[in-house]
Structure formats: structure tokens, C-alpha cells
């Protein structure tokens, strides 16, 4: 089952105005940067983007915000992005902020065939407004709905022609759940190898969740908060 596409142009075929996209990554770590650059080039608009963060002003999803390509963001944390804050406060951008664990679980649920679940996170806060509340073991929980997307775009370290993926360190983050929740899931990888070269014991995301895979042309892997200690 060869899922390899030639390049990012071919990988993103079918993405249209008004669609819902999931994009993996935490901050700028583990984001599908080649695909984001292509989305800018395609100029698709009115997008709903589900992603933990919104990038920074000149990288990651910040690039799509600058081109006003995003209509709605579903995220947990959007600091570090002045243009985002401006569009949100002025009402140009619809923003749905949800607790990070609920965001992760909503994506997982979407891919796992679970329509909704109860969680204590957000009870008694703005997040709970309009949501069903139910008590379990004496503690109130709120009902959170699963999330799915027309396309999920994830970034992995290694992948094979079957679509099996291995992530590196904390670049894994939201990528595995989003891979599960896309009607079509696109994986961009740093290394693409023939089936059989990855040890089946090491696979994080099985290829069943991935429809298209390609080797990213270049990975800048920008660091958001370079923090070091001094060698004595």
C-alpha cells in the first residue's frame, strides 16, 4: 500500500476554502512547516484550524494569519503572536480556546470513534458555558465533543511507504491524535524509508491513519525560546 506522494504540492491536493484542518505541533516544535508554506502559496481561505498554538508572527500558523487565511482557530494557548492577538481582539478572527488536555482528548476521541466524553477540566469556568454537566464520584464534569477534520497535517521524524510514523522527542505532541482524526491525513517526514526498514516495535502511529506521506524538502525547525546554561 504505497502512500507516497512526490512532493508537498501533490500532498495538499484537495484542500479548499472553508475546510477544517488539524495541524500538529506544540509551539514551533513538530509543526508541518513544509505544508504550512504550501498552504500560504495555495492561498486557501476561510479555514478553520485546529492546532494547540498559532505559531509566531513570522513562522508556523502565524504565516496563514498574516494572509488572513484563517477564519477560526481552535487552540489552547495563543501567546507569542501579536497579529493573532490583534485579529482576535478586533473580532476578525473567531477563537475557541479550550484546555490543552481536552483538546488532545477531543482529537483522540474523534479518531477513536468516541463522540464525546466527560472531563473535570474547565468546570465552573467560561469553558463550561453551554455544556452539559454531570457528577461522577461526587465531582462535576463537563461534556466535551470529539473533533475531526477534513485534513489532518502532521509532521514526523521518520516514516515509511506504508505511512507508519515515528516521532522524535517532544515533537510528537499532538501529531499522533491528529493523524487519527483527519478524514485525510497527510504526513510530512524528515526521512522516508521503504516498508520494512522501520522496526514494527518502534512505530508510534500505524500507517492505517495516514493516507499521504512525503519527505519534506527542508526543515528550518526554528527554536522559540532558546535557553541554555553556561559551561563552567
Amino acid at each position: 500500500m504505497n502512500k507516497v506522494v512526490k512532493n508537498v504540492e501533490e500532498a495538499l491536493v484537495g484542500i479548499e476554502d472553508g475546510m477544517t484542518l488539524m495541524l500538529g505541533g506544540f509551539g514551533l516544535c513538530g509543526i508541518p512547516e513544509n505544508s504550512i508554506a504550501q498552504l500560504v502559496k495555495l492561498g486557501v481561505k476561510e479555514l478553520t484550524c485546529i492546532s494547540n498554538n498559532a505559531g509566531v508572527d513570522d513562522f508556523g500558523l502565524g504565516l496563514l494569519l498574516h494572509g488572513r487565511q484563517i477564519k477560526k482557530m481552535i487552540s489552547s494557548y495563543v501567546g507569542e503572536n501579536a497579529e493573532f492577538e490583534r485579529q482576535m481582539l478586533s473580532g476578525e478572527l473567531i477563537v475557541d480556546l479550550i484546555p490543552q488536555g481536552s483538546l488532545a482528548e477531543r482529537c483522540r476521541a474523534g479518531g477513536a470513534g468516541i463522540p464525546a466524553f466527560f472531563t473535570p477540566a474547565g468546570y465552573g469556568t467560561e469553558v463550561a458555558e453551554g455544556k452539559e454537566v454531570r457528577e461522577f464520584n461526587g465531582k462535576p464534569h463537563i461534556l466535551e465533543m470529539a473533533l475531526t477534520a477534513d485534513f489532518a497535517i502532521v509532521k514526523a521524524w521518520k516514516g515509511d511507504t506504508e505511512g507508519n510514523l515515528i516521532f522524535k522527542a517532544t515533537a510528537r505532541n499532538f501529531n499522533p491524535m491528529m493523524a487519527m482524526a483527519g478524514k485525510i491525513t497527510i504526513a510530512e517526514v524528515e526521512e522516508l524509508v521503504p516498508a520494512g526498514e522501520l522496526n514494527p516495535n518502534d512505530i508510534h502511529t500505524p500507517g492505517i491513519f495516514v493516507q499521504r506521506i512525503f519527505k519534506g524538502e527542508k526543515f528550518e525547525k526554528r527554536i522559540e525560546q532558546r535557553t541554555v546554561r553556561i559551561k563552567n
Partner: protein
Amino acid sequence: MALDKIGIAKRIAQELRDGWYVNLGIGIPTLVANYIPEGIEVEFQSENGVLGMGPFPFEGEEDADLINAGKQTITVLKGAAFFDSAMSFSMIRGQHVQLTVLGAMEVSQNGDIANWKIPGKMVKGMGGAMDLVASAENIIVAMMHSNREGESKILKKCTLPLTGVGCVKKIVTELAVLEIRDNKFYLIERAPGVSVEEIVSKTEGDLVVPDFVPEMVL
């Protein structure tokens, strides 16, 4: 004298117990990792997907794929593990993490906490804070007693949008250690050289003051 950020972190570090898994928030809580008491071992969890977080890397050894929840470059210690965000919050929601330390803009005497939004001014999002405070059995808040205008942040009732309700049990500020019980703050310790009167005057919420308030030993 009031504590600086390092003093607050040192006092919170005294609350660590051997064998605990601990989640540290951004800011002062991050500093707690530098003052683990001798003879105990704890493991730090970062909600972006790592257990066994180590110190910041040496210059030139940074790895863009290895960061903490504050997006800072980090290293990992022997025995570390990586995982995805759903599993990370399973650890948190499932109460496998023994201690959560986080910052706050306001705390009220019934244990409510606000730390994610100032309407009309600042909206960065809650990140993992709502999941953490809703599930953690043991939360310590690291914060300043009052804001830049000198107004108390230790309140009868929070004025900002809440992050969680009735969840905070202990607070460490630059002036004092407070506990929350029965809808009141209890003064447990004061910072070295800080008077009880100063703490009382800077606490808007109901504060129970015992006859003797020991000084923190740092």
C-alpha cells in the same frame, strides 16, 4: 524582607517528597527544579510530552525537537520517556502526578484560581492549566501577594475569569505561606523579617492568624 523569585522557589521545593512526579508551570515554578532538597528524588513531567526533564542544554547542544511546556530548550535525564499530548494529560487527569506548581493572577479564599485571561487586554489561553487544576490533588500556587498597583491578589472572590474552582490548598508568596481551609486563608509561615501586620494588610481575603507565626527557614 520579602522573598525574591528564587526564595519563593526554594520554599516550594521544601514541599517535594521522595518519589513524586511533579509538574511545574511557567515562570517561578520552573525555578523549583533548581532547589530539590538533598536526599530525595523527584521526576519532572512537562505536559508537552516528557517525563524526566533535565536542566537546560549547554550552548550548541540545543535540540529544536526537545522543549518544555514554556517552549524552552531542555535536556532529559537517564530514564526519561516521551509521549503524546493525550497520554500526557492522562497522567494529569488520571492523578498520576503527585504535585502541580503553577502561577496565578488571583486566588480566592474558597480555592478558586484565575490565571489565563484579562478581558479586553490579554488573552493568551489556558494551555494545560485548567486540566491541571481540575485534577491535581496537590496544587501549590507560586505568586506575588499583590499586583503592580499594590492591590491584593489574595481575595475573598476572584474578579478575573476563573481557571478552576475550589482547587487551591496552598500558596507561597514573597511574604508568606498560606493554606486554604473552610473558606478562609490560614497564615502558616512568614518570610524572614516580614511582619504579620504587613501580610494582614496585603491580604484582602479572610485571613486566620495564629498567635505564633514561624518564619520560613530557607
